[in-house]
Symmetry: C2
Subunit: 113 residues, 2 copies
């Protein structure tokens, strides 16, 4: 294999790097359901064992990578809405494939091979 880092060249390695994080897929899915969603609203939809710190970090990562858009309203109390960017919306195709396969895999885990 070449000495080059594959990130930015191989679509699989690049995708995987973009999607690091325990919850990124699920976050992307939740964001795909609505045009925009607020921070706390999103947190309530996440598993309980995920703290706001972690959610905040993951959102920032996804934002830095260009997958999501953060819109801040200048008001008190603060209001911030997250939504999918253009390239983020294109990711929905992957989400659909992943949803279908994930369910098949869950069936497989449950022994319905």
């Amino acid at each position: 294999m070449s000495k080059k880092e594959l990130f930015g060249f191989c679509p699989y390695v690049t995708s995987q790097k973009v999607l690091t994080g325990k919850w990124s897929m699920y976050i992307m899915y939740l964001l795909s359901l609505e045009p925009a969603i607020r921070f706390n609203e999103l947190q309530r939809k996440m598993p309980e064992n995920m703290t706001h710190t972690t959610l905040s970090r993951q959102l920032k990562m996804l934002e830095d990578q260009g997958l999501i858009i953060r819109k801040e309203y200048s008001q008190i109390p603060p209001k911030v809405e997250y939504s999918l960017s253009e390239i983020g919306k294109k990711f929905e195709v992957v989400l659909q494939a992943l949803c279908q396969w994930g369910n098949e895999y869950i069936d497989y885990l449950n022994g319905e091979s």
Copy 2:
């Protein structure tokens, strides 16, 4: 959100957990190209900075999760072949979606948005 662990229930969280590992997507892709591939052959196709230790671990993980099949031939020198399992083959749909999106994302990174 419920107290339940989402692994085994939510297709997104389950998929993401299955696909942890820096190289799992790429390994699955390489395995999808051929009916079977030997360890060293596979390693040569991986980036140089991935050691055989890491490859070995990732393969074992994927095998434990049922995505790939390890076939060992009783001979000297040893010969081991890896291939996709049934559920692993079904994953190819995801790989295709991921390939397309990954390339779009690479374009996006290069500023052709």
